[in-house]
């Protein structure tokens, strides 16, 4: 069965996704993943990618000429909405593969790169991102990982950090410094790095929420063929903007929709069980304020999607405004869940079967929203400087 065959009738398309999800999503997947080892997590992620692939939903958003479904944004929204509604697994291990890599290669890659690497994702190749460094976080353009030309190769030395799923990755989107004497934005070059190259060492980083999704990359005399350069030498900063911009869009929209179903399920369950917190009128007031803010956030996420298809998108600060509002709201909702759960909410658990079933895990995980993808402090700078025209000093 290929669900894409139903694409000409949006409601039939939705129904096909819904039917498929009802059949394929294991009802106990959350419980299983809550207890899963790394190996089980990887196996599950690969299984889910393969299932999506079977029905044409692995890379439905890519152009047809590169093996994708060539679907419109309306269809992608429908897919995201159905996935959220069904509480289907997310292909977190493939986020960079599905979003950032095509977002970079489609506008800036060579034809050979596109043919080679886009096709690989449908076969399960995992990508990671080598952008941040221990001393280059918010000030990303100060990065110091060196790339030095040596014949038809570049030799890489340096260190990268916060690289999600790098432990399992086949390829890396790598930013390096090729001209240390140029102004900092002008001496950066972008490469595709084979993670199996000699000299690549990955160490997982354990996070405050107990999981280890990030890795730290230690790069020692790693040789990358010059043909793996994306864009021109010293033009990597501009290419990197495409990578960063690809984060805006359907992926955030799906997050907002998932939260809606989670919070609604939590509320319904609380009401049916006559939960204690509902007897505290102030808590109930706080909760309905969250609902109002959540509806506003979901509407803003829709506006980002609408805007993303217009020429104004690249200059817009709306994605930053949306990140600020949605991630802080998420943090406040999770904080509320911790407060109302009392001592039970402090019980150690990684991920839970029920929405907000492990409040401290959710609360701690919410920092990935406020810190990753440009900290909220950087987003405030962007809103103030680019959006409100306040001067950079």
């Amino acid at each position: 069965m290929n669900i894409l065959e139903a694409q000409h009738d949006l409601s039939a398309f939705r129904q096909a996704i819904r039917d498929w999800l009802a059949k394929v999503v294991p009802p106990d997947w959350k419980a299983r993943m809550a207890r899963a080892s790394n190996e089980e997590y990887i196996a599950f992620q690969r299984w889910w990618m393969a299932e999506r692939s079977k029905v044409g939903l692995a890379i439905p958003h890519w152009p047809k000429e590169y093996g994708g479904g060539g679907l419109s944004q309306r269809h992608l929204i429908a897919i995201a909405d159905e996935m959220a509604r069904a509480d289907a697994p997310q292909n977190r291990m493939f986020t960079i593969s599905l979003i950032h890599m095509p977002g970079t290669l489609l506008p800036h890659g060579t034809e050979a790169q596109k043919r080679r690497y886009l096709a690989g994702v449908a076969n399960g190749e995992v990508w990671c991102q080598g952008f941040s460094e221990p001393n280059s976080g918010s000030d990303l353009a100060s990065l110091r990982t060196r790339a030095v030309r040596d014949g038809d190769h570049y030799v890489i030395n340096g260190q990268k950090i916060w690289s999600s799923n790098s432990m399992y990755a086949d390829h890396c989107l790598l930013l390096t410094r090729t001209d240390p004497n140029a102004q900092k934005h002008r001496g950066i070059t972008y490469f595709i790095m084979d993670m199996r190259s000699s000299g690549v060492e990955v160490r997982p980083i354990r996070q405050a929420n107990g999981r280890a999704e990030f890795g730290e990359l230690f790069l020692t005399n790693v040789r990358i063929p010059a043909e793996n350069m994306i864009g021109a030498e010293n033009n990597g900063w501009r290419v990197a903007q495409a990578t960063l911009a690809s984060e805006r869009g359907v992926i955030s929209f799906e997050g907002g929709e998932r939260q809606r179903y989670e919070i609604e399920a939590f509320y319904r369950k609380s009401l049916q069980a006559g939960a204690d917190w509902l007897r505290d009128v102030q808590l109930h007031r706080e909760f309905v304020s969250f609902l109002a803010e959540m509806q506003a956030a979901r509407r803003l996420l829709r506006r980002v999607l609408e805007e993303s298809e217009t020429p104004q998108a690249s200059a817009s600060v709306l994605p930053s405004i949306v990140k600020l509002s949605s991630t802080v709201l998420r943090q406040r909702i999770c904080s509320f869940m911790v407060r109302i759960a009392g001592v039970d909410g402090q019980a150690f658990a990684l991920l839970a079967e029920e929405p907000f079933g492990s409040p401290m895990f959710d609360f701690l995980s919410a920092f990935s929203g406020t810190i990753a993808g440009g900290t909220n402090e950087i987003q405030r700078n962007i809103v103030a400087e680019r959006g409100l025209g306040m001067p950079r000093v």
Binding site: A292, Q295, R298, R380, N381, A384, E385, L388, M390
Partner: protein, 369 residues
């Protein structure tokens, strides 16, 4: 929700933008800062000037169906008008009059609509409504309606729409004792209406429906007004920060202040969407429309109080002066905050309704894609 404006269909974005532009251009000409401050100091009658224009330009009929002399633009048209009036902190009895008109449109029945709406649409009369809807100070006997009620509306209000005993009624204010209660917000009037055996000019057929319709109309109006006010005070504050220099540079360059400004812009974006959401649910006549209108009022007026307060602070010393604009918006925001009923009470109402919908297995969280 039974509605006489079932024909009010959704207006497209281009129509709405053109409407906003036309209202904004008139108000920017008529209701600039200098004229507004002169009005506040009793040196002009800006409220009357703008009201006259509004009547001529059809603004007062935005929410009134065409068969009663209006333009039939429904909640979308009204939200634009209130948003622009809020932006300029325009003086006049718009929230009271236009919300009373909406309640009449939706629940008045044909005779009451025929009698009141054409004059309201033309701007010939303005109206008053209770400043807060949880007051029940009017009594009713065979002799008529008596009591004192604090109302939103101008001193020359022609009628009052209010509850007495179990009914909602229209009371003609010709001959009633009306006293203006001076408020810190000088851009709107609050009046004390004293009635002694006043005979109702009309009794609305369904009291609960009228109360709900008025609550919703006022909530949408107050929320839109607040969002408009917050936007304009934020804009003028950021403009001020770009020109005010200290330590040898514009204070807009200081990161601590930039981050505050970014947070204000973010709060504003959320507030604007809350208003749009509530308007959209109302236009679509969804069963959860009242919930989102109430929450738009409570959340947006809270946000507007926060924003206007911070804008006074960000102006420094001049923010504390009578001659600068921020305090005008702050005072308007504080009056908006307490209208209809306390925000905590509105949240309680919304919570009860949300709980009912959620328990029944339905959803109040649907959004169009």
């Amino acid at each position: 929700m039974t509605s006489a404006i079932e024909t009010a269909s959704t207006l497209d974005q281009a129509t709405l933008d053109a409407l906003r532009e036309s209202v904004a251009s008139v108000l920017s000409e008529q209701c600039g800062s200098t004229a507004l401050h002169a009005f506040i100091d009793g040196k002009n009658t800006l409220d009357k000037t703008i009201w006259g224009q509004a009547g001529q330009l059809g603004w007062l009929g935005f929410g009134i169906p065409e068969q009663f002399g209006g333009l039939g633009m429904g909640a979308q048209g009204l939200a634009i008008l209130h948003g622009e009036l809020g932006r300029r902190a325009a003086p006049g009895p718009y929230i009271a009059t236009l919300s009373a008109a909406q309640a009449i449109v939706e629940t008045g029945g044909d005779a009451i609509c025929q009698r009141w709406l054409p004059r309201l649409a033309a701007g010939e009369i303005n109206g008053a409504v209770p400043a807060t809807l949880d007051m029940h100070s009017l009594t009713r006997s065979s002799a008529g309606v008596s009591g004192t009620l604090r109302c939103l509306g101008a001193a020359d209000a022609a009628f009052l729409l209010a509850p007495a005993a179990d009914d909602w009624m229209i009371v003609d204010l010709a001959g009633a004792e009306v006293t203006v209660a001076p408020m810190w917000d000088r851009t709107r009037d609050v009046i004390d209406v004293r009635l002694k055996d006043a005979m109702p000019a009309g009794i609305l057929p369904d009291a609960a429906a009228t109360r709900a319709a008025l609550t919703r109309a006022m909530a949408l109006a107050v929320a839109a007004d607040s969002a408009g006010g917050a936007r304009s005070v934020t804009e003028l504050t950021i403009a001020y920060m770009k020109t005010r220099e200290q330590f040898g540079q514009p204070i807009a360059g200081f990161q601590a202040l930039k981050h505050r400004a970014a947070d204000l812009a973010t709060k504003q974006a959320v507030a604007d969407e809350m208003v749009r959401h509530a308007v959209q649910r109302t236009v679509a006549d969804e069963p959860d429309a009242d919930i989102w209108a109430s929450l738009a009022k409570s959340e947006v007026t809270d946000a507007c109080v926060f924003i206007t307060t911070d804008c006074v602070q960000l102006h420094g010393g001049v923010g504390f002066t009578w001659d600068f604009d921020p305090h005008v918006f702050l005072k308007r925001a504080r009056l908006n905050e307490v209208l209809i009923m306390a925000n905590t009470a509105l949240r309680d109402q919304a919570a009860a309704a949300l709980a009912t919908i959620t328990m029944s297995g339905r959803s109040a969280l649907e959004l169009e894609l």
